[in-house]
């Protein structure tokens, strides 16, 4: 117990003193996860919206598939991407394995289905209200996607933050394709896993604290956004 207390004490010291190694890890985590979520949103939101408004055979199957992909196990994504990126794999010549780019790629694969599926729900709900009016304006089904995305912007922010929450907290995928290399691909979650097994509890606890604070902040932002959205848009 004394061990835990002293570790906690030293971890707080690490955070407050602005330990360079600690903050480098935090910054890399943010860089990887934010890049991944932005890319996933740019692809996932229009995709989800298109799926919400388009009518074609097999649409329902696609929606079920997309919803199922929300629960994709990170280690499996890591493994598959590892096979693709390794020297023998089809994308081996890109030499991306064990780079932050590979980690971003892994998180894009992980987060994109979440953002697309949530966007699909948001846009479908909005479309029920808008579709007649937008048709009257002369817009085609796909032509109404930009309008629906913009008018659903506050609710879509929730999808974005949900995606970020998933990315920043995930270990398996970035561990496998990043390799957890010191000063190169070591992010908060992989460092916590490694340092805990090494018995360096101070650094692990410091990163854990920052991660929890981030998670709370994201959740608080999500519910705050929801309230602001209703107030601003009177939705």
């Amino acid at each position: 117990m004394q061990d835990f207390a002293s570790s906690l004490d030293r971890s707080i010291g690490l955070i407050i003193s602005g330990d360079a190694e600690l903050w480098a890890i935090v910054l890399l985590s943010l860089r990887v996860s934010l890049s991944a979520v932005v890319i996933a949103a740019v692809i996932g939101m229009p995709l989800g919206a298109a799926l919400a408004v388009a009518r074609f055979p097999g649409r329902q199957v696609l929606i079920v598939l997309l919803n199922a992909l929300m629960g994709l196990p990170p280690v499996v994504v890591g493994l598959l991407l590892y096979l693709m990126l390794s020297n023998a794999g089809p994308l081996g010549m890109l030499q991306l394995l064990y780079t932050p780019t590979a980690m971003i790629l892994a998180q894009v694969v992980l987060v994109m289905p979440i953002i697309a599926a949530l966007s699909r729900q948001v846009v479908e709900t909005l479309d029920r209200e808008y579709s007649e009016q937008l048709r009257s304006f002369g817009l085609s089904r796909l032509g109404s996607v930009p309008t629906l995305l913009w008018d659903g912007r506050f609710s879509l922010l929730t999808a974005f933050l949900a995606g970020f929450g998933r990315a920043i907290a995930e270990v398996g995928a970035v561990m496998i394709v990043g390799g957890n290399i010191n000063h190169v691909t070591r992010v908060m979650t992989t460092t916590i896993a490694l340092e805990t097994s090494k018995g360096n509890l101070a650094l692990a606890l410091a990163l854990g604290t920052i991660l929890i604070v981030l998670a709370i902040a994201v959740n608080a932002a999500t519910s705050l956004m929801g309230g602001t959205a209703r107030r601003l848009a009177h939705a």
């Binding site: 304006f137 309008t147 009177h234």
Partner: protein, 256 residues
Amino acid sequence: MRDLRLPDPRSCIAATPAVRDLPIAVQGLRFESGGKTLLDVPELTIDAAGPTMILGPNGAGKSVLVRLLHGLLEPAAGQITLAGRRPDRAARIRQAMVFQRPVLLRRSVAGNLHYVLRIRGVPRAERRSRVRDLLAHGDLAGKGHQPARSLSGGEEQRLALLRALAASPEILFLDEPTSSLDPAATQRIEALILGAARAGTKVIMVTHDLGQARRLGQEILFLNAGRVEEQTPAARFFPRPASAAARAFVDGQLLV
């Protein structure tokens, strides 16, 4: 000193040329839903210059008829022609529609008007002054920056009507736009509709308010149970409706 002259309604809502898309002709039009025929119109021509009011009890098929004419619904059979041509996209965007419950975008009051002008291809430089004129025309001048959905019921519908008029439609469809409004709000909506009609827009409006049909209508289209019972000039309809169903409706009897 700013010029305080009121905007001429014609300058902002209707530079409408002679309506190109009249007459609207309907041939063998049928609409079905859930195995039931909701509307069956063997033949109908709408050509009168003034507003055409579509009257009838609930479930008569009034809303279905305007939605078919506007192209929001696909008929089970039959066709609609505008001035002898099948309606294409260009003809559709010369039309506009106001719904019973206004569907306002989650944007500002002015933003809703900007939006329609933008998708109609009005140049950015021109949009600003058009929006200002429209807001003044609809008595919403001070509310441009407010979220559209924070307006009162009457103001919301006024904005929906202004938005429909923004692109100077040739044909304006309205589906009971005042059914949930108080008399004062109704009066302002009616004034805007009459203004548009005088400026040359063909108004086709569903109502079940006889007083409103009398005030606005040039021609009455009476529907009952999915059929057009009669089409008569308003001046003739109200003193003596031709069909028994219309007589009963005008006399205030309940149609079942």
